[in-house]
């Protein structure tokens, strides 16, 4: 909590004691941050630590519940992203927002084109200004090329050019490197360095620790919505930083369990989907819970989708209980005893406007039907049975699932899949965004399932959850399995090291 001496440059943009809550979740608590001109400042923290909320507060998307945003030392209130932009704050999100049909030049200057007489657009000047920006950024993008089909890296360059075009004084980059290759990252960093030298204040978010050390001068670490430290990086090591990020005690207790593992239930061999994941091999045995850890974008969800048959794979094979699955056939996967509880329950796991009964019933349309017609009675009793077993809290089974809390929605998704009596259950982020109590129930449920001989593959970005639940931890890094760590050796440090691509533990 050291304050810079008064001799240094004054911060362009700062947060002072900012708190922000969403419902019962306190995303930010009394967080302060100062961005100085000519400095690249890293924001570090685990998933859910409050990084996104902090960025959105600076970008004018969220307004703080308490505390202040200071621009040049003066408190300001941003009523929307437009206000922040007018104040010279440019934000580059993970996925840039461009107009695919329009040229790069138009994308950069949309709404602010240079004009000629009678308010006509000066196309020539627009193009020239764009070309000048591209030269300044040292890239060879043609101003007339449409944005459609640009790589993420090039799209980010366009966004940066946009920021330059209105002389942004603060540039905020939210995991800009998540989808970039090494050479693209190098180019981006070249641009960031140039901007820094020109006096821009940069806030840089990345999960890749080595990048933070490569490009940043200072780092602010967030954990559970609280600022842990703001310090200069030159005296720190990666291990120091990891310790600041994860250094908490296991808040929740995980169910006591002893794995009784049986035969291989799910075997994945050399599975590859070009450009997404490569050479992924692992197996999950009956009665075992295998954790699949890794950073956002490492390819975990994509592997799960491919195994379940939603996406096709290019090479490799998937076996359930010794039977090979055809590629791209979810119904075959289901028939073989595979169940997938997807990451995004609202969009992929549930039909929000349908009742609890109907949602659970969806996986049983074939089995409960008689002569091809739905048997509403059978569907209802099957759904009721599972809703009760999972202790879903609802008023009536005929209520729409949209009326339930997040935790209970997740239970409905679980019920929907458990009702199929799966041999292998893949759960993708099973407890994201649900309250602590329900979270513990979900954990207990997964432990019970494993005890009953179900093979469970649990994808999670919640490290304590992985460590508390899994018998074995698989770690993915940039589309590959980078480590397989037995329970005894799995620590936050060893998993995070493998996930960030440092020497595998």
């Amino acid at each position: 909590m050291t304050h810079p001496p008064d001799t240094g440059p004054a911060p362009v943009l700062a947060l002072k004691g900012v708190s922000k809550s969403f419902g019962a979740v306190r995303a930010l608590r009394d967080v302060s941050l100062e961005l100085l001109p000519g400095e690249v400042h890293a924001l570090a923290g685990e998933n859910g630590a409050g990084k996104s909320t902090l960025i959105k507060t600076l970008a004018g998307v969220h307004r703080p519940d308490a505390g202040q945003v200071l621009l040049d030392g003066e408190p300001v209130v941003f009523h929307g992203p437009g206000d922040a932009r007018d104040a010279g704050i440019a934000v580059i999100y993970q996925e840039p927002t461009l107009f695919p049909d329009l040229s790069i030049a138009e994308n950069i200057f949309m709404g602010r084109q240079p004009r000629r007489a009678l308010g006509r657009i000066d196309h020539k000047a627009t193009r020239a200004a764009t070309a000048a920006l591209m030269r300044r950024l040292g890239v060879g993008l043609d101003p007339d090329r449409p944005a459609r089909g640009l790589s993420i890296a090039d799209q980010q360059i366009v966004e940066i050019a946009k920021a330059l075009s209105f002389d942004a004084r603060v540039l905020i980059m939210d995991e800009p490197t998540a989808a970039l290759t090494g050479s693209e990252v190098a180019r981006l960093f070249g641009v960031v360095r140039t901007l820094r030298e020109q006096g821009t204040a940069v806030l840089f978010i990345s999960h890749r620790l080595e990048e933070i050390f490569r490009i940043c001068q200072k780092v602010t670490t967030l954990r559970d919505g609280t600022r842990i430290a703001s310090e200069t990086l030159d005296k720190m090591t990666e291990d120091d930083l990891v310790r600041r990020m994860v250094g908490r005690e296991l808040a929740e207790l995980y169910p006591e369990r002893r794995a009784q593992t049986g035969d291989v239930a799910l075997g994945v061999r050399r599975l590859t989907r070009e450009g997404v994941f490569t050479d992924v091999s692992f197996e999950v045995r009956r009665g075992e819970i295998v954790g699949l850890a890794g950073l956002v974008g490492a390819g975990r969800t994509e592997v799960a989708r491919a195994v379940f048959g939603i996406d096709r794979w290019d090479a490799g094979e998937v076996e359930v209980a010794g039977r090979r699955l055809p590629k791209g056939a979810p119904s075959a996967a289901m028939a073989a005893g595979l169940a997938l509880v997807p990451e995004d329950r609202r969009a992929q796991g549930l039909v929000m406007d349908l009742s609890i009964e109907r949602n659970i019933g969806l996986t049983g349309l074939r089995t409960t039907a008689r002569a091809g017609l739905m048997d509403r009675g059978a569907e209802r009793s099957r759904s009721l049975d599972w809703a009760v077993r999972l202790q879903v809290k609802y008023a009536r089974i005929a209520d729409a699932v949209s009326t339930l809390s997040g935790g209970n929605q997740q239970k409905v998704v679980l019920a929907k899949w458990l009702a199929t009596g799966p041999k292998v259950l893949i759960v993708d982020e099973p407890t994201r965004g649900i309250d602590v109590g329900t979270k513990a129930e979900v954990h207990r449920l997964l432990a019970e399932l494993a005890a009953d001989g179900v093979a469970v593959l649990m994808i999670s970005s919640d490290l304590p959850e992985i460590l508390g639940m899994a018998d074995r931890v698989l770690v993915m890094h940039e589309g590959r399995i980078s480590a397989e760590i037995p329970r005894a050796d799995a620590t936050e440090e060893s998993v995070l090291a493998a996930a960030t691509g440092r020497a595998a533990a």
């Binding site: 923290g45 998933n47 859910g48 630590a49 409050g50 990084k51 996104s52 909320t53 902090l54 992203p81 437009g82 932009r85 993970q94 996925e95 927002t97 461009l98 107009f99 695919p100 049909d101 329009l102 138009e106 949309m110 709404g111 084109q113 308010g119 006509r120 657009i121 196309h123 890239v139 060879g140 993008l141 043609d142 007339d144 090329r145 449409p146 459609r148 089909g149 640009l150 790589s151 993420i152 995991e175 998540a178 989808a179 970039l180 290759t181 050479s183 693209e184 190098a186 180019r187 070249g190 070009e274 450009g275 997404v276 490569t278 956002v296 974008g297 390819g299 994509e302 996406d311 970005s461």
Partner: protein
């Protein structure tokens, strides 16, 4: 995983320009293709029936296309914003009758045209307000106003009819007269077309219509006044439908409560055949006008070739499907070509917006 061959030093100007040329060529080609189909069709017809391209023949072609070109131009603005206006047929009908009634009562012809345009503006504003404020799909909203306007028209007009005999001679002459083979209404349509095309290309608000249709969310983030632009597009569309109503009256002299019934579908066909993406953001009004010219010419070509005109609708349908198929194939090709030029690794990863 695919690996880029580029190294740290930025590539300067090398492969991209060819990507640009490709895309530009394709878009120009799209309009040229419609023109080519049109010219071939005309040439074949002329070869089979040398009377076809007489002065009167050309005049008829242009006259027939005029009304559709006007309405299609307006519709283009709306479709570019990723919306649609299905009420144009009803607007055309009621405007034509209003103008006719005014003239029948001895009113001034210029005022009659203005009246039709004003009526169109009114309905356009109504549509624009409902669509931009209501957050309801334009398809449904304008289907509603289609029926409402048609209903009001039916109640007001009843079984009445306006015929050429009710109209001042000068107005009817205006509808068919002109400078040699170019009729007055066609000149008006041409002026409207050129002005609209110029506006779309050279004015900020015109470009913003494209932006809006290309990525509505990005448009909002870029500070484009989304509602106002949509309102403008619908208002212009309504105004042109009204103007087309007046032209219809001048051309045919015959209006009743059914005038313009089902016309909206022809208009949308013309726009799509002309290469404006139904999903917004791409295409141009010249294309739409060519589409209109092509579709209306089928009407004249078939009789000239001695083919029964019952085939007109089927042929229009084929043209429409052909246009969409071509667009789809071209879009895929262009996307592949552009991707090859830049993106080595656009993976599904980007979709993840996880984190806090």
């Amino acid at each position: 995983m695919t690996v880029t061959t580029t190294d740290d030093t930025p590539v300067t100007e090398v492969p991209r320009s060819s990507g640009t040329r490709l895309v530009e060529r394709v878009f120009r080609m799209r309009e040229l293709a419609v023109l080519a189909v049109f010219l071939v069709m005309i040439a074949v017809t002329q070869a089979g029936n040398s009377e076809f391209l007489s002065e009167q023949g050309i005049k008829d072609l242009l006259l027939n296309a005029t009304i559709l070109v006007l309405v299609a131009t307006g519709q283009s603005l709306v479709v570019l914003t990723r919306n649609v206006d299905l009420s144009v047929g009803s607007t055309l009908g009621i405007s034509a009758f209003a103008a006719g009634t005014w003239l029948h009562g001895g009113g001034n012809a210029v005022v009659a045209v203005l009246l039709a345009v004003l009526l169109g503006i009114g309905f356009g504003l109504l549509n624009g307000l409902l669509v931009s404020l209501g957050q309801v799909p334009a398809l449904v909203v304008t289907l509603g106003t289609l029926y409402i306007i048609r209903g009001v028209d039916s109640i007001w007009v009843g079984a009445r009819q306006i015929t050429a005999a009710d109209l001042p001679g000068g107005f009817v002459d205006f509808g068919s007269g002109g400078i040699s083979a170019v009729p007055w209404p066609a000149s008006i349509a041409l002026v409207v077309l050129v002005v609209t095309a110029y506006y779309l290309r050279h004015f900020g608000s015109g470009r913003e219509l494209y932006a809006l249709g290309s990525n509505p969310e990005a448009a909002r983030l870029a500070g484009i006044p989304v509602r106002r632009r949509i309102l403008t597009a619908y208002t212009v569309c309504g105004a042109l439908a009204g103007l087309a109503g007046a032209m219809y009256l001048a051309r045919f002299g015959n209006v009743d409560s059914g005038t313009g019934n089902g016309y909206e579908l022809t208009v949308v066909s013309a726009v799509v055949v002309g290469g404006i993406a139904f999903t917004g953001g791409s295409g141009g009004v010249y294309g739409a006008a060519l589409g209109a010219l092509l579709l209306t010419s089928v009407n004249s070509v078939l009789p000239a070739l001695g083919v029964s005109s019952v085939w007109v609708l089927a042929i229009n349908g084929v043209l429409l499907l052909l246009a969409i198929a071509v667009d789809r194939i071209v879009a895929l090709r262009v996307a592949a070509a552009l991707k090859k030029k830049s993106a080595p690794r656009r993976t599904a990863m980007a979709k993840e917006k996880a984190g806090a």
